[in-house]
Structure formats: structure tokens, C-alpha cells
Symmetry: C2
Subunit: 294 residues, 2 copies
């Protein structure tokens, strides 16, 4: 039995009879193949990536496991359609906080059509992509059994400024996260989620080291997902914090050149995250110090 995923924060969603991904009870995620070249391109990427022996295991774990393609009943009632069968990244989670960050200042590959470039360039400039090298595409933050998730709509997120991004990345690891712009995020979980030897920052730095060297793929419009469990973070120590990469419809061959576009954006994102842990030099108050003091 396939059903609509409970924890999707960006991309097309299978609600109200529309086409979108589905999940089953065994931990698989069914993503409908887009009918244009994007679908074929994403299958080609997963196929190539899965069989590529140059991908080290500690990097492979950042990618969803690929189980091939399968014809399944599409969520929009259009009948049996080909779907990518992938690992459901949140199937083992209870109340995951999730953020989807599209990495890279430029979302168009060099050999794209003029129309496509113009469309992407406009979006990149209107969002924070050009300026920051990344943009937040969606998120949900678990608050409590009573108040559930804070999961704002696309319009709210699309209008984010650089400063909004900075605040949201703090709210993501705060016990008092809300849309209220006056509330000062306490960053209570910063050290357990972003910090530590298995935390988000450590995982991002592993990815970075690979991107400084790998020339196999260029990951246009690919996202970093950050996932953690607030309940675990509250208990201290580990928060099950995970970094994953998703969305490979626009991956192209690297042709012997590193993906400087993804790498630049990733380094910028890393700086944002690390500043939450150490506190910027300008500000006397650091998140890490706050959480330690409480």
C-alpha cells in the first residue's frame, strides 16, 4: 500500500490528486519520473552513481539507496507510471525536523538553453542563491506533541533575505522556534545537532572534502537535507542528525573539472552553520555559550 509521505518539505507533493512521490511501509520512497528529460536524467544519475566504484563508502551514505525503477499507480490517478524507487530517508524517524537547502549560486548548467538559463538566473537572483550560494527550499520544525510542526508555505520561504536565512538556521535548532520574528531563538540544540563529531557540521565538512576533489558529477539544483529528532536532542548527546543529498534531475558529467558551483555554495552554507556554533566575532553572545549556560 502506497501513501503520501508524512514529512515532505519541498518539491511536488502528492496531495489533492496531484502527481507526487509516495512511500510504502517497508521504507521505500517512490518518486514519479518526470516525463521530460529530467526523469531520464535522474534515473541515469542513480544508475551511474550506484555502480561507480570511485565513490567512497563514507560519501555514498549521504545519498539515498537506489532500488531501480518500478511501475506503480501514480498519485494523480493517471494509472501505472514509472517511478524511481529510493530509500525513504525519514521512515525510521518519529517527529523529524527537516530542512531542504538547494546548494549552488547557479542552478543552470553551462550547456543549458537560453530560455532555461534566463528562467533559472531570475530565480537565483530573486532568492538568496546568487548572494549566499544557497537557498532554503523548505523546512519543518517539530515543536511538541501539542503544537506539532512549524511548516511554513513556499511563498513565505521564497521571500527570505540573507538575514532571514541566518535566523531560520538558528530557529531550526531552537526549542522556541516559531514564525514570530520578535522571539530570539535560543539555539538550545545547536551543539548536539550542528556540533559534535557526528553532527551536521562534521558531515558537511566530509562532503566538502569530497567536492574539492571529485570531478565525476556536477550537481545542479541538488539539495542538502538536514534531519534530526528533537526528542533525541532533548536527551542530549546524539540527535540522530543526518545530512543527505537529494534531487538529481539536473546532474551533468564533471568532465574532469570539480563542481566549483556546488562547492562554493556548500562552503558558504558551512560558514553559516559554523557561526551558529562559535558565534560571529561581531556578536558578544554565542548560541553555543547560551546553550551551555542554560
Amino acid at each position: 500500500m502506497l501513501k503520501v509521505p508524512a514529512h515532505q518539505v519541498a518539491g511536488h507533493q502528492a496531495i489533492d490528486g496531484r502527481l507526487g512521490p509516495l512511500v510504502d511501509d517497508s521504507g521505500r520512497f517512490y518518486k514519479p519520473l518526470q516525463s521530460d528529460e529530467r526523469g531520464a536524467n535522474e534515473v541515469a544519475f542513480y544508475t551511474s552513481f550506484s555502480s561507480n566504484k570511485k565513490i567512497p563508502d563514507h560519501i555514498r551514505r549521504f545519498f539515498p539507496v537506489f532500488h531501480g525503477t518500478q511501475l506503480v499507480q501514480a498519485s494523480d490517478g493517471s494509472g501505472m507510471c514509472p517511478h524511481l524507487v529510493l530509500q525513504d530517508l525519514v521512515s525510521s524517524h518519529i517527529n523529524p525536523s527537516i530542512m531542504d537547502i538547494k546548494i549552488g549560486p547557479r542552478t543552470w548548467p553551462p550547456r543549458a538553453s537560453e530560455d532555461y538559463i534566463a528562467k533559472c538566473l531570475k530565480k537565483d537572483r530573486e532568492s538568496t542563491s546568487t548572494e549566499l550560494g544557497f537557498r532554503i527550499s523548505g523546512f519543518q520544525i517539530y515543536r511538541s506533541k501539542e503544537s506539532g510542526y512549524w511548516k511554513p508555505d513556499k511563498g513565505y520561504i521564497r521571500s527570505f533575505s540573507a538575514e532571514d536565512v541566518r535566523v531560520i538556521l538558528r530557529k531550526f535548532v531552537s526549542s522556541n522556534a516559531s514564525a514570530d520574528s520578535d522571539s530570539d531563538p535560543d539555539c538550545a540544540f545547536a551543539s548536539t545537532v550542528y556540533g559534535g563529531s557526528n553532527g551536521i557540521l562534521a558531515q558537511l565538512l566530509e562532503l566538502k572534502a569530497w567536492f574539492e576533489d571529485q570531478t565525476i558529477f556536477h550537481f545542479y539544483t541538488c539539495s542538502v537535507l538536514m534531519i534530526f529528532e528533537k526528542e533525541l536532542a532533548l536527551k542530549g548527546r546524539s540527535s540522530g542528525a543526518e545530512v543527505k543529498l537529494v534531487d538529481f534531475a539536473h546532474v551533468v558529467e564533471g568532465r574532469g573539472v570539480i563542481d566549483h558551483n556546488f562547492l562554493g555554495g556548500l562552503c558558504s552554507f558551512i560558514k553559516f552553520v559554523s557561526e551558529i556554533l562559535t558565534g560571529p566575532v561581531e556578536s558578544p553572545k554565542s548560541c553555543l555559550q547560551d546553550s551551555e549556560r542554560n
Copy 2:
């Protein structure tokens, strides 16, 4: 007495009565202030950079020393004009080999005008900037007393493909460098110029570490200069290899964000240089091995 620089490889040149930089005998370089905002912007950068206490000394050495501005007789006969007074980076050199590499896939700042963006974007896409994250703007390679320098014109360099860039970076450190596309560059000086604890690669990695952290400036259309003396390289050990940064007419404030555009391009350039030292995995023949074998 001011004269035309002997070793300029890119930018406006003071020949045939045109406006360009001049040098004196005491090691100073006089760069005419461009009359539009670029001139004012470059003065503002040097002034701000010179007095900024957050710039570490090991980074400051990559920049030309700034001696203020001065009215001097312009090279185009237009009378006394304001010039930036800078350190002449090659005054102590005898027969320098020099390459000017414009770093960054994007040469326009986010807040530029639409016309300026369109103009830059076209140049970035037509050159290797978009694809590689950098482009070669000019170079001269010293060959010998008899044959002097190989210094091709702008048109030749502007048409470089990714593969041409790869070859030219090998020719730059070869004893048999020439325009002849059939000759296989021997990379005889790769290990002394690019390699070693004081070589180009080590210096680029120092710069990279700073760019991963600094959020003070964004260096649009800024160039990395590589300079070395073939005569010194022939003697082995040190080649006086130096990395310098030049051209700051389009520097803007960093506003708390790293310069992911420059950093991405720099990492790509670093990968090109390091592959000459180690040899790509695909190729059984490495430059370093060649030079060691001879």
C-alpha cells in the same frame, strides 16, 4: 622618470600613446584611476584593506603594497592625472614568467545593473569562467636569451577551451613551451614552481583557507598572478615562485558572507594545478614523474 612596464600580461597597456600603468626605477607601479566608479572603488578597496587589522600578515603578502594616490603625467599625454601608487610586483625580477588568471565563475556582483550583468555573463560564458570557475587573461613564458618570451595576443587567449587551459598550465612550467600544439609540454619545472612547501600550490592553499573564513570583501574580476624565474627554476630548489592578487576595481563588501564565487573558482584552479603535480588518475604519465625521471 616613469616608463612603460616591461612585463605586463593583461589589462590596459601604455603603448602607442594610450592610457595605461607606468613604473619607476624605485619599484613602484602607477595605475591610472579609471574615471568612472571603478577608479574610486579601487582606491577605496586599497585604503580599507591597508588599514584593516583583521587581515593576517601571511595573507597581506599576497597583495601589492599600497602607497596612496599621486598625480603623475598620464601615458596618453592627457596631462597630470591621479594614479594609484602600488608595489611593482616584478621590479626585482629579470626574466619573469607570468600568468594572470581571473578567478570566479561570475564576474558581476549581485547588485550590478542589468546591462552590466548581461555583458559580463556573455563574457563569462564565452570564456572558460562559467565552466571552470576561472579564465586565463594573459601570460608570458620566458624561453631563452635567444628566443625571449612567448607572449600571445588577447585574441589567442580569449578563445581558450577547458582543454587549452589544461595544456597552457603545463606549458607554463615546461622547458619546451611554444605555441606549437603538437609539442608535448615536459613540465620540467612543475615540481619546483607548482610544488614544494613554498611553491604556487602551497600559496594557493593558504589563500583558500583564508577565503573559507573571511567575510570582509568579495573579489569580483580579481586576478591571481603567478610569477617565477626560469633561470632560478633551472638551478633547482627554489624558483622564486609567487602568487599575488591584483585588480580590485570590482571588490564589494562581504556583508558577513564568504566570497563563495572566488572560493569556488580558486578551488577549481587549485585542482588543475595539483593534477599537474600528481598526474590525473586517468593518465598513466604524470608530469612530476617525468621531471624526476629526466
